[in-house]
């Protein structure tokens, strides 16, 4: 292997140079608020790039607004942290990210009946975070307009908050009911009616539910509902060890599986104080680059299909096969690549594979150039993308957009550059920007990112460091908290991991980029034609499986479910049926002559 890798940069010095001035500013504007806190006033810095500030719940809105008033970063996530029945309190963690620095506002709350003021009025992106926090922990923000379920089913029992430590999730009920879609709304008066899109709809290959109120062809209102594929992964991580969790979290998303695996690995490695060998870091970045190419080509096809340009759809998906084959050659898998191990990677890239990669990348780059030309010059296609769904820089920042959606509006927000992790410190990439902010700009940004990814992978292949692939990783991870941010193809993926010294994590919080971008899409849709809506949704490259992570539950107070054959009088009684019993019930039902 070629051993002429660039000299490693003094990471910490550079990081500190970026982080220090930011922290000076934070201390400045948060000082008055932090000093009022009765729990533990002051700032503490658990890691060089992080500052934790304890504040009173009443000061939350003031503190959160201060970040935005001082143009210090953006709200990345709200993490709920239950300290269990013994310590009897829970914490709400509001993470703000600016450059490489992460400032966390910590609010201490009682485990039951706690309340925080809503900050969604000031920071719209917080709306979805707060709804998730409310349904998972039972802390309902006061002043939050919409407190309906975002992820959990409508028939979820009241008072059962899944992420509280002592909540036992009962076994799944046999037949889950999905309601809320049988609303008999045709005419809302004044010629308005609601056009539902999803959860089963040809425009969405993944389940999400949108309701667009239209007047003729013009959209005048928009709302959405997620969670049709919520699998309760965050809760599941708490009962599995670190290694099992790696495979679990890789299944958060089918397209950006490597993003989640590497974000999680980075977090656990940071907690354990393990440095990943350089070659392993480089291989992780190669896979991340290929994953980005895969994701963007897939998106290009879907977006073209939504616009009604099926030829581009067919061609870009044909070429997507090439990158999937490359990924299969390197990792052995086409979808869940499973290249990461805690402390390294599973497979090496040999000479033959490197050559195959180079050849494949040449072809993909040439095809991408062609697609770039198509989406920027085809006048019919431009009619559907140019000046449509325009989002200004200020709006993008206000609505908390992330990833290519934000970069197309001129927001410089890319974790790989702002807070380089892993091999991105040695093999930096450039940020692709556009200032137009319309759909065309989003196409341009994503296609240009294909070129950047291609050349980044080539550089790494030419300078692959010659080291081991793995390093020793302890089974038990020392107690601590850490934040790991990774740039997924759709934007920043944010992980918060808390360890407790055992071989299972205390809490894993996953915030995917799609959740941050919804607010911007719903805003753009209003006032547009119905025909533009699918393309607007596709424009942010939504990923539902990323968003949703479903817990199904059996509860005797539920109003839905299978009525037992033996107790027909009691409408609310439910019980678990075996497959055999269900089959027998079906046979008897039809023998009786149906529902008489």
């Amino acid at each position: 292997m070629v051993a002429t890798a660039p000299a490693p940069k003094p990471v910490n010095a550079e990081l500190l140079a970026d982080v220090e001035p930011r922290f000076v500013k934070v201390r400045e504007f948060l000082e008055p608020i932090a000093s009022r806190c009765t729990v533990a006033p002051g700032f503490n810095s658990p890691e060089p790039n992080r500052i934790d500030v304890n504040i009173e719940a009443g000061d939350l809105l003031t503190a959160a607004s201060a970040f935005y008033d001082n143009h210090w970063g953006y709200l990345a996530a709200i993490t709920g942290l239950d300290h269990g029945p013994e310590e009897d309190y829970l914490e709400a963690l509001y993470h703000f990210c600016g450059g490489a620095a992460v400032t966390t506002l910590r609010v201490k709350l009682p485990r039951h009946g706690g309340s925080v003021p809503s900050i969604a009025e000031r920071i719209p992106a917080a709306g979805f975070f707060e709804r998730e926090f409310a349904e998972m922990f039972g802390v309902y923000p006061t002043g939050l307009q919409d407190c309906s379920h975002l992820f959990l089913p409508e028939d979820w029992p009241d008072g059962l908050y899944p992420l509280l430590k002592d909540t036992e999730i009962p076994s799944p009920k046999t037949i889950a009911s999905m309601d809320g879609l049988d609303k008999p709304i045709v005419d809302q008066g004044g010629g308005r009616f609601i056009v539902p899109i999803g959860p089963q709809h040809p425009a969405l290959k993944e389940p999400g539910h949108f309701e667009f109120t239209v007047e003729g062809e013009i959209v005048v209102g928009a709302s959405m509902r997620l969670g049709y594929v919520h699998r309760g992964l965050e809760k599941a991580t708490e009962s599995r060890n670190y290694i099992q969790n790696l495979y679990l979290l890789e299944r958060v998303c089918g397209i950006c599986s490597h993003t989640h695996a590497s974000a999680y690995s980075n977090a656990v490695e940071q907690l354990a104080g393990v440095e990943v060998p350089l070659r392993a870091q480089a291989i992780r970045e190669i896979v991340a680059g290929l994953e980005r190419i895969h994701s963007h080509l897939l998106w290009l096809g879907v977006a073209a299909h939504e616009a009604g340009f099926d030829t581009l759809f067919m061609y870009s998906w044909r070429d997507r096969e090439t990158v999937m084959d490359l990924l299969e050659q390197i990792t052995g898998n086409r979808v869940n690549y499973s290249i990461c191990l805690l402390g390294g990677v599973k497979q090496d890239v040999n000479y033959a594979q490197a050559d195959a990669l180079r050849a494949g990348l040449d072809y993909l780059e040439q095809r991408s150039r062609h697609y770039y030309e198509v989406v920027t010059t085809d006048s019919m296609f431009l009619q559907r993308t140019r000046d449509i769904g325009t989002m200004s820089l200020a709006q993008a920042e206000y609505l908390g957009a992330l990833g290519p959606t934000a970069r197309a509006s001129g927001v410089v927000r890319d974790v790989r550059v702002e807070a380089p992790y892993g091999a991105y410190r040695r093999f930096p990439v450039s940020v692709v920007m556009d200032t137009a902010g319309d759909l065309e700009a989003r196409f341009k940004v994503r296609l240009k990112e294909l070129f950047v990814s291609c050349s980044a992978i080539r550089t790494i292949l030419d300078n692959l460091p010659d080291t081991e692939l793995t390093t020793r990783m302890p089974r038990r991870v020392p107690a601590g908290e850490t934040v790991s941010r990774v740039e997924a193809p759709r934007g920043e993926a944010f992980y918060f991991v808390k360890s407790n010294g055992t071989d299972m994590p205390e809490r894993v919080k996953v915030r995917t980029p799609s959740l941050c971008n919804w607010t911007s899409v719903l805003n753009q849709a209003i006032g547009r034609q119905l025909a533009d809506v699918p393309l607007l949704i596709a424009g942010m490259d939504p990923c539902f499986s990323c968003n949703d992570r479903m817990v199904v539950v059996r509860d005797n107070s539920m109003h839905h479910g299978v009525r037992s054959a033996s107790s027909k009088g009691d409408a609310h009684h439910t019980e678990i049926w075996t497959w055999e019993k269900l089959r027998q019930y079906g046979i008897d039902f039809y023998r009786r002559g149906g529902n008489k």
Binding site: H201, A307, G308, Y315, Q383, L530, A531
Partner: protein, 307 residues
């Protein structure tokens, strides 16, 4: 070519009726295969459209509870009847039209619109939200392309000075009007695509917005009747364009030679262009389509006046 066929056979079996439907399905296969190859796909086998039609005919038809059942069942029949009747006035397969009278060109054009009108009414009748939006779009689009399309097909009639299709074909025998009236020819071809709701004019059934548009709640027999109607309309439309703009049709071989290139042209357009929004479709037809055809009419009338 003179071929004496008893009227009943003509209407029910060949070349009208069943023959028309089967040929339509074969042409649909050619169309699907062409589009597939242009989009880098394999495409269906030759009998696929027939298999689809047969399968749907055998399937249960679900009639939604809130619709008027007579309209629900009757509309597809009315639509397909219109198209099959239109088939009697065009030189299918290169045989002279079964019936001919003064003004049959106009009647044929209106008969072809009956299917679109039925589709729109069917969407309005089923009361589903997708159907309603789809029906509105179908009818909006009808008003967009209908006038330019009709004017484009009346161009050859103006050149001859008769509204009777047989006279027009006889009067232009051997002259390829697509070269002397290119605008009319192009507008007629694109108008046919609009009539058939092919991309880029497929906003009325844009699956990514409104599922299947006006026909969302149709299943089984009703759906397939609409489908066959559409396919047959394509064949009748192609025949009209070939007969009026490509120097008449002399026999079955000539029919195939003249209609297939038009089909290829349609498939090519369809593959290259992104779906237009309904406002863009209307804008395109009235801003360019109608004006260009009018311009050609003016030129024609002036030239006729001079000669």
């Amino acid at each position: 070519m003179k071929l004496v066929i008893p009227p009943l056979i003509y209407m029910l079996l060949f070349p009208g009726g069943l023959g028309l439907i089967m040929t339509g399905l074969l042409y649909e296969w050619v169309h699907r295969k062409l589009v597939a190859r242009l989009q880098n796909r394999i495409g269906p086998r030759w009998f696929q459209p027939m298999a689809d039609a047969l399968k749907l005919l055998l399937k249960e038809e679900i009639i939604p509870s809130e619709v008027n059942p007579y309209l629900f069942v009757g509309l597809p029949v009315a639509g397909i009847a219109g198209v099959l009747t239109a088939g009697l006035y065009v030189p299918l397969w290169g045989f002279p039209a079964a019936y001919s009278f003064d003004g049959d060109l106009i009647v044929t054009l209106y008969l072809l619109s009956l299917l679109t009108l039925s589709t729109g009414l069917a969407g309005w009748n089923t009361r589903s939200r997708f159907s309603l939006v789809g029906a509105t779009r179908t009818l909006t689009q009808l008003f967009a392309y209908e006038a330019p399309f009709m004017m484009a097909l009346l161009g050859p009639a103006l050149a001859v000075g008769s509204w009777r299709m047989n006279d027009i074909i006889a009067g232009n025998q051997g002259t390829w009007l697509m070269f002397t009236q290119p605008i009319g020819f192009i507008v007629a071809v694109i108008g046919l695509m609009g009539k058939l709701e092919m991309p880029p004019f497929d906003a009325p059934e844009a699956e990514t917005e409104i599922v299947a548009g006006a026909l969302t709640d149709y299943s089984g027999r009703g759906l397939v009747l609409f489908h066959i109607g559409r396919t047959t309309e394509m064949l009748v439309g192609l025949t009209m364009i070939a007969a009026l703009y490509m120097g008449g049709i002399n026999g079955p071989l000539d029919f195939v030679i003249k209609t297939l290139p038009v089909l290829l042209l349609i498939s090519g357009f369809q593959t290259l262009i992104t779906r237009l929004r309904i406002d863009q479709t209307v804008g395109l037809w009235w801003r360019y389509g109608a004006l260009l055809v009018l311009l050609q009419w003016v030129v024609l009338i002036v030239l006729k006046g001079i000669s």
